[in-house]
């Protein structure tokens, strides 16, 4: 089936080449980093974790979001979600694969990666991270592939797929919890020791996952013909809006607690994100980006409001797709760099992290690699759909 990803028109190959070049730049960045050590990155005393670890909570939530499609579709016979099921499984697999790459990129001793699986320390939440991601990668990829294969053959999906989905439920829900608990062991960082962390990662991951899925379904309808009804987009838009609303509510709860309690570490991090402070704290080259958190927060909130309008959900066109994409980007910043980088900044002063060239290149490279994998899987999905139509 994978040979379908190797046939495409000029636009497809241009896009693939573009992503491959970016991924190659990432490999170049990693070469610099492994030669000169992590000293070549923007990390250091005061910014111990950088942009690699900053991707992990968001990706954990994104990976878990597939359960909200796979479980009703496979275990509750909700066939109206069938068209989205392989896509969501592939999205989860790509998120898990990218997480594993980001973990590996941030290690000082990459040669000891097997130690993550062989020297597990069960009392440490971080110890469960890589094994759970690995298991979830296998489960979601096999689920997506089996769903697609049965579509191609026109048969009902195999029964063992139900077992795979059932197994994926505890693993998938564990991902945001592990991502939150591995931060909870760090007692001095207020933003990380909130019990709201796991639900916030899960809910914003859900909003992002459903938003991206909606984007992909709309894009596929435009390229492969509207064979799936508009109801699917409408339903996904509804899920995105509700998850986004819950996410905004949770943001408000955390911020409210921080400012009412005047908690020093939390309020500092929030001020750093959403006030003028970042402009002074960041290196000069990054000063233009100091407004980015506020812009993304507002963009996310406006997109959620748009999707709450029934007319936007019913039309299900590019406006809904764009709103879904914006919500995903907003959730990425909120549960990614906003959480890890701002959460790490200390009120006692010290450096605020800003990426240097190698870590920037590697991060772009891993995202390009993820996009490459997702593109190939989408291509296979579209080809399967087209070949079904041709019958």
């Amino acid at each position: 089936m994978f040979e379908k990803a190797l046939k495409g028109n000029a636009a497809y190959w241009t896009w693939i080449t573009f992503l491959a070049v970016l991924a190659g730049a990432g490999i170049h960045g990693y070469r610099i980093q492994s030669e000169e050590g992590l000293a070549s990155t923007g990390m250091g005393v005061g910014a111990v974790w950088g942009i690699y670890n900053a991707q992990l909570p968001f990706l954990a939530g994104l990976a878990a979001s597939a359960l909200f499609i796979l479980v009703p579709e496979r275990l509750m016979k909700r066939s109206e979600l069938s068209a989205a099921a392989p896509l969501s499984a592939f999205l989860a697999a790509v998120a898990a694969a990218m997480s594993l790459l980001f973990i590996a990129a941030g290690l000082g001793m990459p040669s000891r990666i097997p130690g993550l699986f062989m020297n597990m320390s069960p009392s440490a939440p971080a110890s469960w991270h890589a094994p759970a991601l690995m298991a979830y990668l296998v489960l979601s990829l096999s689920a997506g592939w089996a769903l697609l294969a049965s579509r191609k053959k026109g048969t009902t999906p195999p029964r063992w797929l139900r077992a795979v989905v059932m197994l994926a439920v505890p693993v998938g829900f564990a991902l945001p919890v592990i991502a939150a608990f591995m931060l909870a062991v760090m007692p001095t960082y207020g933003l990380w020791t909130s019990a709201m962390l796991a639900p916030r990662i899960l809910v914003s991951g859900l909003a992002a996952g459903m938003g991206l899925l909606m984007f992909m379904v709309v894009a596929m309808r435009r390229s492969a013909g509207p064979d799936e009804g508009k109801e699917l987009v409408e339903r996904l838009a509804g899920y995105t809006a509700l998850a986004g609303l819950a996410s905004l509510f949770f943001i408000g709860l955390d911020a409210g607690t921080a400012f009412l309690g005047n908690l020093p570490s939390e309020t500092y991090a929030l001020r750093l994100l959403y006030s003028d402070m970042a402009r002074e704290a960041l290196p000069a080259a990054y000063a233009p980006f100091s407004l980015l958190p506020s812009v993304l927060l507002v963009a996310g909130a406006v997109s959620v409001a748009l999707l709450l309008l029934p007319v936007v959900r019913r039309t299900g066109g590019m406006l809904a797709a764009a709103a879904g994409l914006l919500i995903a980007i907003s959730a990425w910043f909120d549960r990614g760099p906003g959480l890890i980088l701002a959460g790490q900044a200390s009120p006692d002063g010290g450096t605020v992290y800003a990426p240097a060239m190698p870590d920037m290149l590697v991060t772009i490279g891993i995202w390009a690699g993820g996009a490459l994998l997702l593109t190939a899987l989408l291509k296979v999905t579209i080809s399967v759909r087209r070949s079904r139509e041709a019958l």
Partner: protein, 243 residues
């Protein structure tokens, strides 16, 4: 069990005369802890802030020399097992002195670094020492973030060229692993005191068994007002400060 096996191999090497003076410390399998508060030896330190002279760096230098600690000029890449910091910043406003006093790993009874380590590379021994297995560390830096005292350092680049006075007495580390104060467990097994406390010209640092009521540290704790760093976090540090 793995560590016990490695210890056995090192022991055999020593017995056969290949390694007459093994660099690696041998620890028996029973040396690390199940429960932190069990009876037995618990190493600790009492630092008399009144006797620590401003500007003196004897303990810092002794530590650097005896453990091949690299010296990096960039403050963001620093590796330190012990350093001196403003007393108020270290202990809060109840601390009388504003001058710089030594700070090192607290060898906590409830260490958060140990809970954070995904590979069990940082662990608490039965004698209270929080130790690092440099050959197991994957360099994820979770322990650095978990330590509320910032006493874990990371080798952001190759430390070996940055070692000013190398000693063959202790192994060097490599790029990409964390390191921190070990309470000189290598010297303790030879019957020596930690290099910082043994070389302090003013006798401001006292090392000993906190669980032995007759030890010098216990007597000092009984007869003085002492403080620990961030006691509110419940980490139960083993390093005390007389203020």
């Amino acid at each position: 069990m793995r560590k016990a096996g490695l210890g056995l191999i090192a022991g055999l090497g020593a017995a056969s005369g290949i390694l007459s003076n093994p660099l690696f410390e041998r620890v028996s399998a029973s040396a690390w802890a199940s429960s932190p508060k069990q009876p037995g030896r618990r190493w600790g330190m009492v630092i008399d802030t009144r006797r620590c002279p401003e500007g003196c760096t004897t303990c810092l230098d002794a530590c650097r020399r005896s453990h091949n600690v690299p010296t990096f000029s960039d403050p963001r890449r620093q590796v330190e097992w012990i350093h001196k910091e403003d007393g108020r910043a270290l202990l809060g406003t109840a601390c009388a002195t504003k001058q710089a006093i030594p700070a090192l790993c607290n060898h906590c009874a409830e260490p958060s670094c140990v809970r954070a380590c995904p590979t069990d590379s940082i662990f608490r021994r039965k004698d209270g020492i929080v130790a690092i297995d440099y050959h197991r560390c994957i360099g994820c830096r979770s322990c650095m973030l978990a330590c509320p005292y910032g006493e874990v350092s990371f080798n952001w680049s190759d430390p070996r060229p940055a070692i000013k006075e190398p000693t063959p007495e202790y192994p060097t580390r490599e790029q990409g692993v964390v390191e921190k104060c070990s309470f000189c467990s290598d010297r303790l097994k030879k019957g020596l005191e930690p290099s910082c406390s043994s070389q302090c010209p003013e006798g401001a640092m006292t090392f000993g068994d906190l669980n032995d009521p007759k030890s010098a540290v216990s007597r000092l704790l009984g007869s003085n007002e002492t403080m620990r760093r961030k006691p509110e976090l419940g980490t139960e540090p083993s390093v005390f400060y007389i203020i």
